[in-house]
Symmetry: none
Subunit: 128 residues, 2 copies
DNA sequence: TTAACTGTACTATAACGGTTAGTACAGTTG
DNA sequence: CAACTGTACTAACCGTTATAGTACAGTTAA
């Protein structure tokens, strides 16, 4: 399900939130699905429960999951969650752009990459 | 030449290395050009000389610049290293775009993010 | 009711990275 | 010699991340 790269500089709780968002985007997790409990996931990943709890708290604050004390944490159903996921994806992309710029890539280069990805061969854009 | 965003979570030395690579990519700095001294750049940016030194050390390790004790630091003539960094950064960015698309972000959203980043970043300050 | 689970809320601490501060030494230049 | 250059240290501070431990409240099933 979710794998953690302990060598990475990306915080573990970030990897968890990203992993769950990805799982929902891919359709593996759907609205109403129950997530592993804080303690069980921590045990499975070999990390501290507090770290999992932090990830779940962030996901809940973003509306991606909802938690019920005593019952567990579940994937959110409402469309607000989808918006939250979009927002989260946008944030991730923003970091990627910042990184690209820091590495010296100019804007034109980025635009070229985007065109390459978003134009699968048949293009419907009129200008350019 | 280089501006530092002190609010950013991106380390200052990373911003410096990226800035110099970018300046070389843009053609502002060319092979053999002399860089500001460790102490003068630190003074100009209002940071500690150690931080600049760290950035220069990284750039030298990557083959982007070369330093001569007593003389200064200079842009390397061999652009292979810089090109390699650009290439790897482009690959990384490409994966980020693919991911963003998979997450459901449309092209306009990506363009907006790019504009946001590339508008406030590079400044050609003549004062200070 | 009891027991075992669930989320949640704390405090304390360790570890790490980034940055600053200060000092020192060696090479270059005028 | 004086003033610059890069370089190499050590020490300290701070914020973030992660761990550790404890505690409390809600849920569920035996």
């Amino acid at each position: 399900m979710i794998t953690i790269d302990y060598k990475s500089r990306v915080p573990i709780y970030d990897q968890i939130t990203g992993g769950i968002i990805r799982l929902k985007t891919l359709g593996v997790l759907k609205g109403g699905d129950k997530l592993p409990s804080v303690r069980s996931l921590a045990l499975k990943l070999g990390i501290n429960p507090n770290t999992v709890q932090k990830a779940y708290a962030i996901l809940e604050a973003d509306g991606i999951i909802y938690s019920v004390s005593g019952k567990g944490s579940f994937i959110s159903e409402d469309s607000a969650a989808a918006d939250a996921i979009l927002e989260s994806a946008a944030d991730e992309f923003k970091m990627a752009v910042e990184n690209a710029r820091r590495m010296g890539l100019d804007r034109a280069r980025l635009e070229a990459v985007i065109s390459e990805i978003y134009e699968g061969g048949i293009t419907d854009d009129k200008n350019s």
